[in-house]
Subunit: 231 residues, 2 copies
Amino acid sequence: MSSLDDRSKVAIVEAASLSYPVGARRELQTEGQAIRSPLLLLNGWAARVRVLHDGRRQFISFVLPGDIMGHYTYPDPVATSTVVALTDVQVCPLPDSTELPDLERAYSISGALDEACLVAQIIRLGRFTARERILDLIIELFERLSLAGLVEGNSFAFPLTQEITADALGLTSVHVNRMVQQSRRIGELCWIAGQITLPDLPSLRSAIDRSTTTVRPWSALPPMPVAPSRN
Amino acid sequence: MSSLDDRSKVAIVEAASLSYPVGARRELQTEGQAIRSPLLLLNGWAARVRVLHDGRRQFISFVLPGDIMGHYTYPDPVATSTVVALTDVQVCPLPDSTELPDLERAYSISGALDEACLVAQIIRLGRFTARERILDLIIELFERLSLAGLVEGNSFAFPLTQEITADALGLTSVHVNRMVQQSRRIGELCWIAGQITLPDLPSLRSAIDRSTTTVRPWSALPPMPVAPSRN
DNA sequence: CGCTGGTTTGATCTTTCTCAAGCCGTGTGG
DNA sequence: CCACACGGCTTGAGAAAGATCAAACCAGCG
C-alpha cells in the first residue's frame, strides 16, 4: 500500500474523472508516434505488442489496472512499442507529478516494476520450458492482480485467449492448449471460461523457479484508484 | 552526439578520475542488494544475468562502454539483477545529476534505450529463429558500439564466447556454433578470434526484421567519456 | 609437455511447430 | 425456432528446430 499525500490523491481522483473508454483491439499508443499524454489504465487489460513484417507477433508485457503507459521523463518522448487494448478498457491521462514528490516516487517505482516484468519475460522466453512459461506468467499476473485487488481467494478473471497467451510466451496456441490440458489433468491449474483458479499457489510457485522475480509489495499506486467496489 | 553543458562535462571527467578496474567474472552489482552508487562503465563489457536454481543461465542484456547500471530514481534502490563483468572492465561512480539538467536528461534517455534493448531481447527470444537471434544481437551490438566509437569500418572486437552468446539467446552453444558456421559459409558473418566483421550490414539488416528495434541516434553520453584515443 | 578454455563434429533424442480437421458455444438473421 | 457463421478450443499425424551427450580438436600458456 503506497502512502500518497492528500494533494496527490486529489490529483488522481481528478484525473480519473477525465477517464474515457477504449474498445478492445484499439491502440492506446502507437510505436514510433509521439506521446500526447501518458496514460493510466483504470480498468480492463492492455498489452505492449510488436508485430514483425511476416506477421509473427510478440506480446512484450501486459498492462493491468493501475499500470501506467508512456511515462518517459525526457523531452518529446516517443512510444517504444504499440499498446493495444485486449478488452474494453477505461483510461485517463496520467496526472502530472511535478510538484508532487509522492506521485513522482510512485511513478518511479512503477517504472522499476515494469522493468522487472520485462526481465521476468526474458527469463521465461530464454530459459523456461513451455509448461514453466505458462505457469510462471499466470503466477505473475496473479500476483500483480492481487496487488490491484482483483483476485478473489485463489481465482481471478483471465480474459486472454490461448492464442494471445501463446504470442506472449513465444509458443503456438496448439502447444499452449496441450500444456494447459496437462496442467488441468494434474489439477495444478483450473482455467475455464475466462477464469483461472490456482488450487495450490505455494506448491506451484516452488515448482517453478521464480527466484527473485517475485513482485515486491511496493505497489505503485493505491489499488484500483477508482474501483467501483472499494472506496 | 548529446550536447552537455560544461558543468556536466566537468562532472563526468571528475567521476572518471575516480575510475577503478574490476576483473572479468567479478560482480559489479548483486541482485537483491542495495545499490551503493550507480556506476558508469568506461571500458570493457559487462552483462546483466540471472541464474536459475538448476543452473540454467540467462543473460538479460549487455552493458557496453558508456552505459550506466543501477541508476534508479526512487529512494533506497535495490539491484533488480546481477551485473557481472565479462571482460576486465573499468568503472566509475555515476556523477550525481541533481542540479545538472543536461545529465538528468542524458540518464533518462539512457534508461529509455536500455528499455528498448530489453524489448528487442524479448522479440529475439520470443519470435526469432536461432539464425535471426544471433545476427540480430550482433547487429544491435554493432550499432551500440558504433555509437560509442568502438567500430572500425565494419568490424569490432567481440569478447563473448559462443557459450555466453548462447546463454544470451536462449540457445545451446552447440547450436550457436552450427548456425555461426553456416553464416560464415554464406559469407554474411566473419567471427574469428574475438573479432567480428559484417561484410554487408545493409543486406544483413534487411534480411533480419529489426523493424523499429533500431537504436536511435540519441546517444546518452558522449562517446567514450574518457577514451584514450579521442578527446 | 600437458593443462585449460573454447571451438568443432557426429549421432540421437525431445520439444515444439505445422497443417489440417473437427468440435463447441454463442449470436444473428431468416 | 432453426441454420449457420464465427471465434476459440481440441485433437491427430508428421516434420523441423534445437537439445543432449560425448568426444575430438586446437591454441595459448605455465
